[in-house]
C-alpha cells in the first residue's frame, strides 16, 4: 500500500470503496448461510469508521466553554479526526425470527446488498470524476 495521495477526497473515496467491498463480503456470507441453523449475521460498520476518520467540527448551534488549560473540558469541541482503520467484522446478536435459530432475514440482506452496490458504484463514479479533474490539470492541452 503506497502512501501516495491524490488528496483528501480521493483517500476518502478509496476507503469508502474498500469498506463497501468488505461489506459486500459480509452480506454475501449472510446470504450464503441463509439456511445454516444457529447462524449469526455479520455486519461491517465501515461508514462509522469513515465518519471517525473525518472527525466532526463543533456544533455551531451550541455554546462552547472557554478553556485556558489542557485539563479543562470544553464540551462541544467536535471530534478529532483519527486515521482510517479497516473496520472489523462484527456479529449481530439481534432477534431470532426463525425456527432454526438463525437471525438472517433474506429480504433485509437483499436490500442491504442493493444499497451497498449502489453506494459503491456512486463512490466509484465520484472517484472517476475526481481523477478526470486531475487529468485535466495534468494535460497540457489548451
Amino acid at each position: 500500500m503506497s502512501d501516495f495521495s491524490f488528496g483528501k477526497t480521493a483517500d476518502l473515496l478509496k476507503n469508502a470503496i474498500g469498506g463497501s467491498g468488505l461489506n459486500q463480503s459480509a452480506i454475501a456470507n449472510n446470504i450464503a448461510n441463509v439456511n445454516t441453523p444457529n447462524y449469526r449475521r455479520e455486519t461491517v460498520s465501515f461508514k462509522e469508521a469513515l465518519a471517525q476518520s473525518l472527525g466532526a467540527p463543533p456544533d455551531p448551534d451550541q455554546l462552547s466553554l472557554a478553556v485556558d488549560n489542557p485539563k479543562h473540558i470544553a464540551f462541544n469541541e467536535g471530534i478529532e479526526p483519527t486515521p482510517y482503520t479497516t473496520p472489523p467484522v462484527k456479529l449481530d446478536e439481534g432477534i431470532e425470527m426463525r425456527p432454526d435459530h438463525s437471525n438472517v432475514d433474506v429480504d433485509q440482506e437483499m436490500s442491504l446488498l442493493a444499497q451497498n452496490t449502489g453506494y459503491q458504484q456512486t463512490m466509484a463514479q465520484i472517484l472517476k470524476v475526481n481523477y478526470q479533474q486531475l487529468r485535466t490539470l495534468f494535460t497540457e492541452n489548451p
Partner: protein, 150 residues
C-alpha cells in the same frame, strides 16, 4: 487479505451448498416409494447439514487480519454432512406385497413429497439470492475497473 472478488467465492460456496441440497431433495423424491435398500428395510429420508465455513486466514495464529476477531470470518457456507432422518416409516397394509412384514404391513420411506417440494423451493430461492449477490459483486468490480478508463 481477501481477493478482489472474494465475495464471489463466498456466494459460490452458497451456490454449491444449495445445489447439493437440491440433489439430496431430488434423491428423496425419487426414492419416495423405495421399500428395498442394500442395508435392508425401506429408504430413509436424507437431510443435509449446513455449517458456516471456518475462515482459514483468521484461524492462523498471529494473522494480521481485522476479520474473525469477533465474527466467525467471511468464508461462506459448507455442507458438513448428509444424515438419515430416523423418523418412523410409513406403514401401509398390503399383505400381497413381496416386502410386507409378518403382520401384512409394508414399510414405506418416511418421506412426505409435499414437504420435499417446499424444501426444494426454499433451496431454489436461496440459490437465486446467491446468484444476485454474485451479479452485484460483478457490477461493483466493473465500477472499480472503470476508474482505469477515466
Amino acid at each position: 487479505m481477501p481477493g478482489f472478488y472474494s465475495s464471489v467465492d463466498i456466494s459460490a460456496s452458497g451456490l454449491s451448498a444449495e445445489r447439493l441440497a437440491m440433489d439430496v431433495i431430488a434423491n428423496n423424491i425419487a426414492n419416495a416409494n423405495t421399500t428395498r435398500t442394500p442395508e435392508g428395510g425401506p429408504f430413509k429420508r436424507q437431510l443435509i447439514l449446513f455449517a458456516q465455513k471456518p475462515d482459514a486466514a483468521a484461524a492462523q495464529p498471529g494473522a494480521a487480519t481485522p476479520m474473525g476477531e469477533q465474527g466467525g470470518g467471511l468464508a461462506g457456507v459448507q455442507a458438513v454432512g448428509i444424515v438419515s432422518d430416523q423418523g418412523p416409516d410409513k406403514l401401509v397394509y398390503d399383505p400381497s406385497h413381496p416386502d410386507a412384514d409378518t403382520n401384512g404391513y409394508v414399510h414405506y420411506p418416511n418421506i412426505e413429497v409435499v414437504k420435499e417440494m417446499v424444501d426444494m423451493m426454499a433451496a431454489s430461492r436461496a440459490y437465486e439470492a446467491n446468484v444476485t449477490a454474485i451479479q452485484d459483486a460483478r457490477q461493483m468490480g466493473q465500477a472499480t475497473l472503470s476508474l482505469l478508463q477515466a
